[in-house]
Symmetry: C2
Subunit: 112 residues, 2 copies
C-alpha cells in the first residue's frame, strides 16, 4: 500500500482536468457523435440517444465555452445553425476510439 509518488500526482492533475469535461454525463458522447462532422441541433440530439433538448443545450454551451465545440451560422434563407468540433475537440477523437475499444473488450454491456 504505497504512497503515490510526486510524478503520479502530477499526472493525476491532468487526468483530473480531462474529467472536468468528460466525467460529466453525455459530454463524451456529444463529442464522439460530432466526430461525424457538422450537425444541426436536431441531428445531434438524434445521435446522442436519450438526451433531452434542455440538457443538450446546456452541454453544448459548456463545450463551446471549453472551446471544444463551435457553433456556426450559415446565413439563409433559411438560416442554418450547425455544431462542429474545434481542432482541440478533434484531437480527442482517436482517444475516444481507444476508449470504445477498451469498453468493448473489458466492460459487460448494460442490461436493457
Amino acid at each position: 500500500m504505497n504512497e503515490p509518488t510526486h510524478d503520479l500526482r502530477r499526472c493525476d492533475a491532468t487526468v483530473s482536468l480531462a474529467f472536468t469535461v468528460l466525467g460529466k454525463r453525455w459530454n463524451g458522447m456529444i463529442l464522439a457523435v460530432l466526430g461525424g462532422g457538422s450537425m444541426s441541433f436536431v441531428e445531434l440530439r438524434r445521435g446522442v440517444d436519450g438526451i433531452s433538448d434542455a440538457v443538450l443545450s446546456d452541454r453544448l454551451a459548456e463545450l463551446t465555452e471549453a472551446k471544444l465545440v463551435v457553433r456556426s451560422v450559415e446565413p439563409g434563407p433559411p438560416v442554418s445553425v450547425g455544431y462542429d468540433l474545434t481542432e482541440a475537440g478533434r484531437h480527442l477523437l482517436p482517444i475516444l476510439d481507444q476508449l470504445g475499444e477498451w469498453a468493448a473488450s473489458n466492460l459487460a454491456a448494460p442490461v436493457r
Copy 2:
C-alpha cells in the same frame, strides 16, 4: 450536415458503453489513482481530491461490480483491506495517460 453512417453509430455504441463508467464524476480519477498500485480506502480518498467517504464507497462498489477494481483482504492481525485494479482496469491506464496529455494541451485549467 451529414447523417451519421452505420459504422459511426456502431462505434458510438462502444464509446457510450465506456461512458457508462467514465461519464460519472470521480470514476476516472479513482481508476487513475489506483494505477499507482494497491491502496487502502484512506490512501485512495487522499489521492482523489475532494471526494467524500460515502461517495468513494459507492463508487468503489460500482467499479468492483464492473470488474475494474478488486477489494483484497489481507488477514491480520491487524486485518488490512486494500483496493487494486483488475487487469481490465489496468488496460485503461495508457488511455487515461493520453486523456491527461490531451487535457494539458487542449483544456484551460479551471479557475480556483
